[in-house]
Structures are given as structure tokens and as C-alpha cells.
């Protein structure tokens, strides 16, 4: 189980915080899955995914720190974050198929979150929108790889 604290998505900062929690949750779950004995054949793939999600977190932190100014601090209304909350309770004793299926659901929710956020970010900051879209597409590609495992 990876502890995450998903905020309500009402501000640009809270959307980024939500994304950071997603990345932390995904990386943590993948590290746990990499240590599951029955899923040992996929351990390297899960470790690589965990590392990739940590790197995505760094990118998001950088965006929040370097790009924010008051001209883009418009409140975000009507974004229901609960739709994107991922399950971070790693299944114990999972084999490769179960583990990959669990991870694919994380990537599916992540991609939905990023692609929806990209639409909102587009009106605030083009660069944030581009980053979100990139992360959403990456998650979709990850999902496809996991489903093929």
C-alpha cells in the first residue's frame, strides 16, 4: 500500500499536486510489484516504470516551480478529481498477469487525468498543457505495454 493524499482539483497548484500524488502512487506500486516473487519475470519492467514515474514527478515539480505566475492563477471549477484516483493497494502474491493488469488500470486513470487536465491547462499555460498531454500519451503507451504482458 502506497500512501497518497489526493487534493481537490480547484487550482493550478492542486492539479499539479494531484499529478505528483499520481506519480508517487504509481512509482511506489511498481516498486512493490517488482518485488513480488510470482511476478519476478516482470520485475525489470516494473522497476523501469517506477523510475520513469519518478522522473515525471521531477518534471512536474520543475513546472510548478519555474512556470507559475499570477496571470495563470485562475480558479479551476467543475473538475472532479475523484474520477482519477488510482488504487495504490498493491495486490499481494500477484503473478505477472495480475500485476500487469493492476498497473494497466493505474496507467488508464493517469492518462485520463492528464489528457483532461491538458484541456484545462491549455487556457492557462500552453507549456503545462503540452507536458500534461505528453504524460497522458505516455501513460496510454504504458497501458498498452502492460496489457500485452
Amino acid at each position: 500500500m502506497v500512501e497518497c493524499d489526493f487534493p481537490e482539483c480547484r487550482t493550478f497548484g492542486s492539479v499539479i499536486r494531484f499529478a505528483l500524488e499520481l506519480e508517487k502512487g504509481a512509482a511506489g506500486v511498481y516498486e512493490e510489484l517488482a518485488n513480488e516473487p510470482k511476478a519476478a519475470a516482470a520485475a525489470e519492467a516494473f522497476r523501469a516504470l517506477a523510475a520513469a514515474h519518478k522522473k515525471r514527478g521531477e518534471l512536474l515539480e520543475h513546472t510548478r516551480q519555474q512556470k507559475l505566475n499570477e496571470m495563470i492563477l485562475e480558479p479551476i471549477q467543475d473538475m472532479d478529481g475523484t474520477r482519477y484516483i488510482i488504487d495504490t493497494k498493491t495486490p499481494k502474491g500477484a503473478d505477472v498477469k495480475t500485476a500487469a493488469g493492476f498497473a494497466a488500470r493505474i496507467e488508464e486513470k493517469s492518462s485520463a487525468f492528464y489528457l483532461d487536465s491538458a484541456k484545462i491547462a491549455k487556457t492557462l499555460m500552453a507549456e503545462a498543457a503540452r507536458i500534461m498531454e505528453k504524460l497522458g500519451k505516455e501513460s496510454l503507451a504504458n497501458k498498452a505495454k502492460l496489457e500485452a504482458m
Binding site: 487534493p7 481537490e8 482539483c9 480547484r10 487550482t11 493550478f12 497548484g13 492542486s14 499536486r17 510548478r64 516551480q65 519555474q66 507559475l68 505566475n69 499570477e70 496571470m71 492563477l73 485562475e74 480558479p75 471549477q77 487556457t123
Partner: protein
């Protein structure tokens, strides 16, 4: 909701490269406006302590002036690097002592650092100019830009990090030395930043902090070794600072209050307009000199705009700014809250209609916080107090007018001239507005006209007393003088 520290204890002054406890024996509490907790004690330094800081800055000046601009710039590059490492802590401290949201505080921290980045370009910014045979045949003429000595800033509560950085990086990069008096309501952020300044490697006495109130300010304004004063605050105080400093032979730039109108034309893109205006009226709980205050609807957009505005305003989430999902924090103090409520009361008494009332706003868990909810007042007329005076709170006065010219007449009837914005899809309307509007900062579909570090910032009329604005090239001019050298070789 991690606080950097629960309590920052008894704060000190930073003079001549040392942290010094004030000997005045007087101090006041610094309160977290969201929780009501006391988080520090700030000293009320004496005139003698201020004079000692001026002497230290004056002694440091000759050597700093002789330090080549490129070497001075390197210290600013180091400062920028160190500030980046402290970015999140600076933002969190700001939330804790001022009440703004963490997003707003991060935005302010970024703006603070941007001023350091721009000042680091001093070798280019400070170049003079010359003309061969400029005086006559065989006689060349040069204009050399020189620093002047000791400068000081008297700072407000609403931007604890950024506003001192509108001034001192430019002054010090130009070869002057500096004394900052932070607002006694929000001194912690500036002291935290000064610990970073200390690490960057400025020689002792080049940058100093003296905490206190008017005794410090008056001493800075009256001391013969202080060459100029920068101030940001209310108009009555700005007037006093301007007059008193000028009487004492200082250069002055004194930024005062504001009463900003946002004009919504019938062709405005309503969705985007509303989202943008929410940030203008409710950002920093309305405690910005660039905040929207009057909303002027032109023609038949008034009713649909107002309906949607009230709906959107109701969704603003208030709370402790360290909660990332919060849209708006408290105002800075109980006194500030009482003042804002007084203005809403006066509007009601003068016949306006309160559509959304933030006077009794409560945030569960933060009952001691100084929260005022988003407030929307309809049927405001230009003669009402609420339409004329600076409220400095999350209060929207809604006015209906027939044309842009009527709106401009209303804007120009105000003694203030800080900022005004227009929301329109028409290039012609936008062009006309920016051409005619007599304010120092104009927004076209932008509700917060926040000038970047490399542009000047100040208002017109009673919003600014002085000539040269803050930031950018204006700042360099304020902190330097032009010396003409005419050369002839026999």
C-alpha cells in the same frame, strides 16, 4: 499542510553582515492570519539602531562601488541559485504569515527571483554612452552612469517577498548599499530570504534589514546619508513619504493605493472572462494594488454576467493557504477584516444590494482566522463610497454603464490611476481603451496587470508619487545618476 516552523521566535535585524537583537525593548507579535496563532515577535527598532545601519551601509559603499559590475553580478547569480533551493520554504513561510494561498506564494517567489535575474544583467543595464567629437571637433563627450550611496525601502504587508526585491537588487547591483524595513505584519519571509542573501557573499553592510515601524521609516527619510527612498503602501502614507523624503533632499518613488475597474464589453468571451476576473478580484483575498474592485458591465451583458459571476464566486473555496485546494485565504488581520466589513456595511446603507455576503464567512477548523468571503454588491453607483475608496478585500462592486466612454469617465473620476482592464473580443475597443485610459497599468483580457521584472511598475495620479517606477530600467535610473565627462587632449 507542512509549516516550515511552528514558531520563528524573536526576530533580529541584519546589519553589517551580522544578526543583531534589537535593544529597543519593544516588540510586537506576528500572527498567522488563518489560524490566529502567534508565530513570531518582531522588534520595533529605535532611531539609533536605524542610524547604525545607515552608517554601516555608508561605510560599505566605497568598496562595493569599486567592485566591478561583473563581479557584483556574480553575487546575484549565486543568490539566484540559492533562492531556487529555498523556493518552497519561502512560499510556505509567506502563506503562514500573510495568509495568501500556496499557489499565490509560489507565484510571488518566482517574481522575487526574476528581479534577481534581471539585476544580474547589470553590466549591460548600467552602460553609459558617448559621442566622439560630441562637444566640438577633437572634444569627446561621455555620459557615465554612477551609483549614489545608501538607499532604503519601506515595504507593505501584501507581498512580503517580492516588493523589497522590486528595489534592492537593482540598487545593490548598480553599486549602492541598501536598508530594507519589512512590514512589521509580515517580517519573517524577508528575514528568511536574508539568510540566503547572507550565504550569497555580499560584503558586510551592503544589504541590511531593520525591523520596526515609523521610527525606522522617519530615520531613513531624515538621515543625510540616505540618498533615496522606495515605498509601497496606502496613498495617505505614500503622500507623507514623498513629501517628507523630498523635504530631506531624497529621491523618492512612493507607490500608493488603487481602485481598479474591470470593464466587460458586450462582446467579451464570458467563460474566459469570468475565470480570469475571479483571480483578479479574489486572488490574495483582494489585497493587491492591482486587484479588481469595480466591475463595470457595458450594455446588455450585465445580467448574464452578474448571474454567472455570483455562481462562480460561490464556488471559491476559502481556507488555510497551505491546503493546495484552497482558492482564497484570509485577509491579513482582524483590523483589515473590520475595515473590509465596514465598507460592505456602508454600501448596504447607501442603497446597494448585497448579492453574495462574505461578512460572516467561517472556515471550519479556522475559527480564529480573519476570513472574509467573496462578496458581490449590485446596484452600485459611481457616487457610493464602495465605488470610490480602496477596500483591499474580496469585494466586487457591480456597476452598469451604457458605453466604454461612460466607463472611462468613471475611471478617470477616481483620484487613483493604478490599473484598469477591458474584456472584449474587439481589437478596436481594446485599442481605444488602452489609448484613452489614464492608468499606469492596462489589461486587455487580463485582470491582474502584473508587470514583469524587466518592465517598470507604478500607477498614475494618487497611486504613485515620483517619476521613476520600480523594476527594470526605471529602477537602474532611480538608483544611479548620469555624469557627463568632456575630454580634450592637448
Amino acid at each position: 499542510m507542512t509549516e516550515v516552523k511552528k514558531n520563528y521566535g524573536k526576530l533580529q535585524n541584519y546589519v553589517n553582515g551580522e544578526w543583531i537583537e534589537s535593544t529597543s525593548g519593544k516588540a510586537i507579535d506576528v500572527e498567522n492570519p488563518a489560524t490566529g496563532e502567534i508565530i513570531a515577535q518582531v522588534p520595533m527598532s529605535s532611531a539609533d539602531e536605524t542610524k547604525a545601519a545607515v552608517e554601516a551601509a555608508d561605510e560599505a559603499w566605497p568598496a562595493w562601488r569599486e567592485t566591478p559590475p561583473i563581479t557584483r553580478a556574480r553575487v546575484f547569480f549565486k543568490l539566484k541559485e540559492l533562492l531556487e533551493l529555498q523556493f518552497e520554504d519561502v512560499a510556505r513561510i509567506m502563506v503562514q504569515e500573510q495568509g495568501k494561498t500556496i499557489d499565490e506564494a509560489r507565484g510571488e517567489t518566482r517574481r522575487t527571483i526574476e528581479n534577481v535575474e534581471v539585476a544580474a544583467g547589470i553590466p549591460s543595464l548600467m552602460m553609459g554612452y558617448n559621442l566622439e567629437d560630441g562637444a566640438a571637433e577633437g572634444i569627446d563627450e561621455d555620459a557615465v552612469i554612477s551609483p549614489l550611496g545608501v538607499f532604503g525601502a519601506i515595504c507593505p504587508f501584501n507581498f512580503p517577498a517580492m516588493i523589497p526585491y522590486w528595489f534592492w537588487p537593482y540598487a545593490v547591483a548598480s553599486g549602492n548599499t541598501y536598508i530594507v524595513k519589512p512590514s512589521s505584519q509580515v517580517p519573517i519571509t524577508q528575514l528568511w530570504l536574508t539568510k540566503v542573501v547572507e550565504q550569497a557573499g555580499f560584503p558586510p553592510g551592503v544589504f541590511n534589514i531593520v525591523n520596526g515601524s515609523h521610527e525606522v521609516s522617519d530615520t531613513l527619510m531624515e538621515h543625510p546619508k540616505v540618498k533615496g527612498i522606495s515605498f509601497v503602501g496606502s496613498t495617505p502614507v505614500a503622500k507623507y513619504i514623498y513629501k517628507h523624503s523630498a523635504e530631506n533632499g531624497k529621491r523618492v518613488q512612493a507607490q500608493g493605493g488603487a481602485k481598479n475597474s474591470l470593464v466587460v464589453m458586450p462582446d467579451a468571451a464570458l467563460d474566459r472572462t469570468i475565470a480570469n476576473m475571479l483571480a483578479s478580484y479574489y486572488g490574495c483575498a483582494g489585497q493587491r494594488c492591482l486587484a479588481g474592485s469595480n466591475m463595470v458591465a457595458i450594455g446588455d451583458i450585465a445580467d448574464p454576467l452578474l448571474k454567472r459571476w455570483v455562481e462562480a464566486s460561490k464556488k471559491i473555496k476559502m481556507g488555510y493557504g497551505l491546503d493546495e485546494s484552497v482558492n482564497m485565504g484570509p485577509v491579513v488581520s482582524a483590523k483589515a477584516k473590520a475595515k473590509v466589513i465596514g465598507y460592505i456595511d456602508s454600501a448596504e446603507k447607501e442603497g446597494a444590494k448585497i448579492l453574495l455576503d462574505g461578512r460572516k464567512a467561517k472556515v471550519p477548523g479556522y475559527e480564529k482566522g480573519h476570513f472574509v468571503g467573496p462578496t458581490v454588491i449590485d446596484q452600485v453607483t459611481p457616487d457610493m463610497t464602495i465605488a470610490k475608496e480602496e477596500v483591499f478585500g474580496p469585494v466586487v462592486s457591480f456597476l452598469r454603464m451604457g458605453s466604454m466612454d461612460e466607463a472611462l469617465d468613471f475611471i478617470h473620476s477616481s483620484p487613483f490611476g493604478n490599473a484598469a482592464s477591458i474584456y472584449t473580443q474587439s481589437g478596436k475597443s481594446a485599442r481605444e481603451f488602452r489609448y484613452k485610459c489614464q492608468c499606469g497599468n492596462i489589461g486587455i483580457n487580463v485582470g491582474i496587470v502584473a508587470a514583469m521584472a524587466y518592465f517598470p511598475f507604478a500607477g498614475y495620479k494618487d497611486s504613485f508619487f515620483g517619476d521613476l517606477h520600480g523594476q527594470g530600467q526605471d529602477a537602474i535610473k532611480f538608483f544611479t545618476d548620469r555624469k557627463v565627462v568632456i575630454t580634450r587632449w592637448f
